[in-house]
Amino acid sequence: MGSITLKQVTKNFDEVNVIKPLDLEIRDGEFIVFVGPSGCGKSTLLRMIAGLEDTTSGNIDIDGQDATSTPPAKRGLAMVFQSYALYPHMSVRNNIAFPLKRAKVPAAEIEQKIASAAKILNLGDYLDRKPGQLSGGQRQRVAIGRAIVRQPSAFLFDEPLSNLDASLRVNMRLEISELHKSLKTTMIYVTHDQVEAMTMADRIAVFNAGIIEQVGTPLELYQHPVNRFVAGFIGSPKMNFIELKQTKEDGATCLGVRPEHFQITTDAGIWSGKVGVVEHLGSETFLHVQVDGIGTLTVKANGDCPLSYGDDISLSADQSKILRFNDQGITLPSKGNQ
């Protein structure tokens, strides 16, 4: 069991409002990712769910029980911190055993749980070392090990991979995803890396300045963002926004085109411009195209794209893939569906 329901939850830090009234339903067993720009309140909300931060108003229900003022230890949740928060003077074994000892679990059972956690996370060789003698990735595994032995009803992760180097991050990402598949426990995962969000999540909640802009599966957010903020936040490189000179009959003031939805044409397309910087990544190429009256557009092309700096280029795009926003930034129904 691990369903969490937030009802009209708010948070103020001395008069400063950080979380606006917010509703969210987290289903049992799902992997939900909180993304959003820095300072938008993701960590704060996670800490409120964990019980480390008081809730100013509203309710947090865990498994249908009101847990708004339950102390952290009684909520049955486990958290993995960005700094890992391992106890530096205890061996890995004792770090993992700490929550079990506090819960007065019999010694034999503790031994057995440590052994199984060590097996899942490949910690066998390090059990008697101190955290200071481990690498970042190993520390991360110990922190996860300390969380899983408690068999919590949900795991909370606050940017757990942000201290790791790029390749290790990819590995750990896979390991956490696999862990979720095998444990089938609810996981709430905070990150501002959108690749992590897209690849790991069952559902993503996009935060902006204390509110949730949209909740949905990664593809829903990519294909049908409800507004300009979500459209710009999900997808890499960022979506191109093209302001229109005059408002269209349906109220559209701005078009949104993802770099991968442009087509480079030789005959006159919709937009024409000059190629600026060209970034060759091998499998694909990003062109920064200067278009008069619009600005720079980012265009994704094939890896063997022959264009280079200063070339003239003409662009078009599939009408059904172009998003249209009104002056409030709300997404309008796309032409293709009309």
Binding site: G51, L52, M79, S83, Y87, P99, R102, A103, R150
Partner: protein
Amino acid sequence: MATTHSRTLAQFMLFPSVVLLLAWMIVPLCMTLYFSFLDYNLLSPGTEEFIGFLNYEFFLTDPAFFESFFNTLLLVGGVLLITICGGIGLAILLDQAIWGRNYVRIMVLAPFFVMPTVSALVWKNMLMNPVNGLFAHFATFIGVDPVDFFAQIPLLSIIIIVSWQWLPFAALILLTAIQSLDREQLEAADLDGAGPFSKFFYIVLPHLSRAITAVILIETIFLLSIFAEILVTTSGGPGYESTNITYLIYTQSLLQFDVGGGSAGGIIAVIIANIVAIFLMRLIGKNLEG
């Protein structure tokens, strides 16, 4: 700047100050060592003669030596116990978000700036005086006989005075150590179901071990040579009840004018201090490593 050349130059430039410092230490030490082998009394000048280890024999077989040796240990141990325990308590209190915390911190530090003689006199005349002292007034107020601190419990009284002086030092060092504790560790412990006591014993205390070691080592060095507090309060009495080694050397060499005996005592004090230092480093020194 780590080439061989620059290092040689640096060593060469350091040479004069090292020599000066060494001379500063070595000359008095050698003179003390020399005097300790002489029959040298200021009352009969000009009759110095070499007497071998006789001074040491007299000093070590004097019953006063053993009493003052144990008094020294009790004094150091007692003050360490009080200042460490009290210091941890104070540090935890001062770490809480209380109103006017910064002023309270400065006030807590105040006793450390009061000269030992002055603070001992204040305690002697204003607080512990059996007739006029605050404690005596308080005792009569609640209807018990006032304690004559320096006659009945002289050593304990001195331990209390010295502890009062050193408590702020311990509290301040421990406070900075507590403040350097990663808050996320405490939050993780919260989630792991640790209560206040578990958090204190498993997280806070191990984190403080290094600072506690530093406090013990620093305080021990100073506490071995407590003198002014004894001189102005009990003068080592009654009998030898509040005499420590330092004070015993003083009575030997300056009250009995026996320079030879006093010097022997001084050398013994140096040896004791080194034994204590080695013992402490063995016991807790590993806490200071990385």
